[in-house]
Symmetry: C3
Subunit: 133 residues, 3 copies
């Protein structure tokens, strides 16, 4: 087993990719691995406190049947992340460049987000590889 941190850079803002990222993070955290998440672009936008619970769409290839199947699923990705933070060591950071682009301040974000971080510092600080989602 790899005991370096699982470093995830989230770019996409659709619910299905955010859900996949949340499950990866929760699985690693539950098994004692540190998780560091950096939110860029549309992933960051999905963490706005006035939008986090709203639907954020799915990958185009989901189609009608896939969207139906997705909707029948249980938990929201934000709840999976909340539980992961209770169970393990999961840091969620907003990319400061994306914050500026979207005109956001920290008060606009859900409390799941811990702080702001530069993308370069995140990549260099990662003690292992970076997975881009």
């Amino acid at each position: 087993m790899d005991d370096s941190a699982l470093s995830l850079v989230l770019f996409s803002g659709t619910d299905d990719r955010l859900d996949a990222a949340a499950v990866l993070a929760a699985g690693a955290a539950a098994l004692g691995r540190k998780v560091e998440i950096l939110l860029l672009y549309w992933a960051l936008d999905a963490f706005r406190n006035d939008r986090i619970a709203e639907p954020h769409g799915l990958a185009p290839e989901a189609g009608h049947e896939g969207a139906e199947a997705y909707r029948r699923q249980g938990e929201h990705w934000s709840d999976i992340l909340r539980q992961a933070k209770q169970v393990g060591e999961v840091g969620i950071h907003a990319c400061s460049r994306s914050m500026a682009m979207l005109g956001l301040s920290e008060a606009d974000l859900d409390p799941l987000v811990d702080d702001q971080y530069g993308i370069a510092s995140f990549v260099i600080g990662a003690d292992g590889p970076v997975t881009f989602i």
Copy 2:
């Protein structure tokens, strides 16, 4: 050269991304590197035995010209994966959570898929980094 396994998590179900993943896997396998693939969501859906040979679309930015170029290409990604499995050590696993979401059983999947796997076990079991496609 890195001799850890190449661990690929496939999420997207479009033919172009599946093709890129297949070529990465085949290249690594041909050179003796172990490959482990986990199928989530729409990538898993693309491995249904009644749909694997059908067109699964392309990234939206392909456009008409890109789609034409793609269609003129030779082999199907499922054939590239089949050959990779003959040449090297390539495991293809269905994510059990995505199986449940899509209402699939193993009998619904192409024989390329070896078994089911939990996403957490896959990530933790990976002896190296995870590439998300």
Copy 3:
């Protein structure tokens, strides 16, 4: 800090993902880390010298508001990459299989691209993990 090369496989051809990749590369290069980039498919298409400066679209979930925010941003991703190459060690390689698919020769590509490379050689030659964007 991880001192292996940052190996990026770029697949997507939208401006937002190319921008995220350029910022990752520039950040790593500025801090002395070697960066190797392989261009596949629509990412390669975006480096054609007759198209690199044109708009290449955004992820579908950007929406109208996201697109406006993106357009107000400063530098083009190609300029960020150009600076990264001046500051650090950044190799940009065209995937030879994608070159063939798109019917391109090296003369069709922006001078940012150094040479052609096979996808298998790239993955195997990477002395660290591969991030797929």
